[in-house]
Amino acid sequence: MKRDNSIKTAGVSGYLLFLLVSFMYGFSPGKEIGHNFISFSIDMLKLLPCAFILIGLFEVWVKRETIEKHFGEESGIRGYIWALLLGGATIGGLYVSFPIAYSLYRKGAKLSIILTYIGASGICRVPMTVFEISFMGIKFTIIRLMVSIPLVILTSIALGDYLTKKNYKIEKGK
């Protein structure tokens, strides 16, 4: 970890030194890279504070535990809606949702609902969506959500039913 850090520090300072020298002596490739870096950074700084504040507000106001409590009690369409909500409130990537999905399965949730949750935690995580809207525009996000959410639910039902019929059993460690 420490070695990794020092390599990074060396890399960053080397880069900055290179830019500085390039600007001093008018080395044009270096100047161009520097312009790239600055213009990207400015673009980021315009959007990042808003995105992070929205994520902070989301985390303070939405309690994941409340959603989790309702999970599994409801069957039918409601089960899928809770799966979407819980997926949206998940933080982190797929590797975070696998253990949660597994524990929900142990608590008796249906396979198709579990699959919906995994899909939802990928496609409609709120913090990530905030970033997406900031950088890609709201139209992009709306199209993506409107198309992918129904597909995730449908394929989850199909896959869940198919595997349940085949008596597929999930055993950890296999």
Partner: protein, 160 residues
């Protein structure tokens, strides 16, 4: 971009009126998050600034733009499937590429596969859910991602 400022300002104001303490906590969380990912961010910007200098703009807009939609989609979904990248790095990167002329649908294929197809997470997923379910789920997800990309292309009038 302005609606983001307006939405943030409105949310912040509303939150502040309802509960001051929670609002300050939210800002603290936001600052922490920001500071925590800043190094990863700077590294990304450095790499991107160099890579985009080395690869001419025409090459990018040629291969990931309108002329080669099929190649662009394959390329994007391949990279999206095999890489692990948090959304707060991926979307800013997509934003930069968008300005370089990369199609919305290509970026959609990249970001969607990034989110739901996991080749690198295969060992973890397999451990929890078994080989068959893992493979089927990932195949379905790839199909979903390509379909989403197609629809994105249609709505942004990039194809047809």
């Amino acid at each position: 971009m302005y609606y983001l400022y307006i939405a943030t300002g409105f949310a912040l104001l509303l939150s502040f009126i309802v509960n001051r303490e929670k609002t300050f906590k939210a800002i603290t969380i936001a600052t922490h998050r920001f500071v925590n990912i800043l190094p990863a961010f700077v590294s990304m910007l450095i790499v991107v600034s160099i890579v985009l200098f080395l690869i001419p703009d025409e090459l990018i807009s040629n291969y990931l733009g309108k002329n080669n939609i099929f190649i662009g989609l394959i390329f994007a979904s391949f990279f999206g499937s095999i890489t692990l990248m948090p959304g707060f790095i991926a979307f800013p990167l997509c934003g930069i590429l968008l300005k370089k002329g990369v199609l919305y649908m290509v970026l959609s294929a990249f970001s969607t596969t990034l989110m739901i197809v996991g080749v690198l997470t295969y060992p973890i997923e397999k451990k929890y859910f078994g080989v068959r379910l893992t493979i089927l789920r990932n195949m379905m997800s790839l199909f979903i991602a390509l379909f989403v990309a197609l629809m994105t292309g249609i709505f942004f009038r990039e194809i047809f």
